[in-house]
């Protein structure tokens, strides 16, 4: 099966880093911006970088946008250009168009004209930051559904030295540990102290939970909170 080909339109901080990350992960990436200097900067970090007007259908077609399976419109600040670019790429028949939005109105219009997905990086980051400040023991949180979450937490003291089975994480709290991240101190080649992280993915019931472990758990929000409490 051929690899998904991505197109990224708008190479600001978000767009350029997204394009580079996708390319680094082995996907073909076509990066487009209307400014030559920005395009020149990213040339060596993506499959192809082209200077073109994102609202010019012919220019995008010539750039090869039709070969992309997914196009991300990463023009944040200029809503008009973002909307027009969305319209143009949808008209060109791109199946999956993701639009970076800066407001609710922006996202509503984007969806109306055919965007398959809208994202708000700033809103999502703010939400994450707020969560990390309110619950310092919760390091990372992904919402699966209204009730279920995947959460990274510092192993509660009550579990230290116990196996997963004995900790009652499943029987008592109804949640599952899907990974244990352990921090292991060592002396590096330069003779300096350091700490490395080792991850045990899908640990067994006999695996032990130690002090300083980070647990990746799946469960209902209230159950996780109960497990995480003292």
């Amino acid at each position: 099966m051929a690899k998904t080909q991505f197109g990224v339109i708008g190479l600001g901080t978000f767009g350029s880093n997204l394009a580079k990350e996708l390319f680094k992960r082995g996907f073909p990436v076509l990066a487009i911006d209307n400014k030559d200097d920005i395009v020149n900067k990213i040339t060596s970090s993506v499959t192809q970088a082209i200077a073109a007007d994102a609202t010019d259908g012919k220019a995008l077609e010539d750039a090869g946008i039709k070969d992309c399976d997914t196009v991300i419109i990463a023009i944040g600040e200029d809503i008009e250009t973002s909307i027009l670019a969305t319209l143009v790429v949808k008209d060109l028949g791109i199946k999956n168009v993701i639009v970076k939005c800066i407001s609710q109105w922006h996202s509503k219009i984007a969806v109306k004209i055919g965007a398959d997905k809208v994202i708000y990086p700033e809103f999502e980051m703010a939400k994450k930051l707020a969560e990390s400040m309110v619950s310092p023991n919760i390091l990372e949180q992904i919402e699966f559904s209204k009730d279920f979450n995947l959460v990274e937490i510092v192993a509660p003291k009550k579990c230290w030295g116990k196996t997963i089975k004995d900790s009652g994480v499943r029987s008592k709290y109804g949640i599952n540990i899907i990974a244990i991240k352990r921090h292991i101190p060592f002396i590096n080649n330069d003779g300096q102290p350091d700490i490395e992280e080792k991850t045990n993915v899908v640990p067994g019931p006999e695996d032990e939970i130690l002090e300083n472990d980070i647990l990746v758990v799946v469960g209902k929000q209230d159950q996780i909170e109960k497990f995480n409490s003292k």
Binding site: D190, Q192, P193, D194, N212
Partner: protein, 94 residues
């Protein structure tokens, strides 16, 4: 620093490192603090405290320790890498 103090510093540091390498972080913190009382410029003790604090998600304390390490030892790779990570600096970014 006289020879007695130097010997004492090495001895306590050895004990601190033993605790650190065995993940006995509470004990390691106590010993590293004693090392710093004798020699506040001991970069290994400062950096190790940074690592322990980072591990415990005491981010501000960890940052302070890495910064102090880098004042004494500008080339300290461990302190540089961990401090950059905590601040959110990605060297691959523009």
């Amino acid at each position: 620093m006289d020879k007695t103090n130097k010997n004492q510093e090495s001895k306590i540091q050895e004990q601190a490192m033993f605790y650190f390498l065995n993940s006995k972080f509470d004990e390691a913190i106590e010993e590293f603090k004693k090392v710093l009382e004798i020699n506040p410029a001991n970069s290994d003790a400062l950096c190790s405290l940074g690592l322990i604090y980072e591990n415990r998600k005491m981010i501000e304390e960890a940052k302070k320790m890495y910064e102090k390490t880098l004042i004494i030892d500008k080339q300290n790779k461990v302190a540089t890498e961990h401090l950059n990570k905590l601040i959110g600096i990605n060297n691959e970014q523009d």
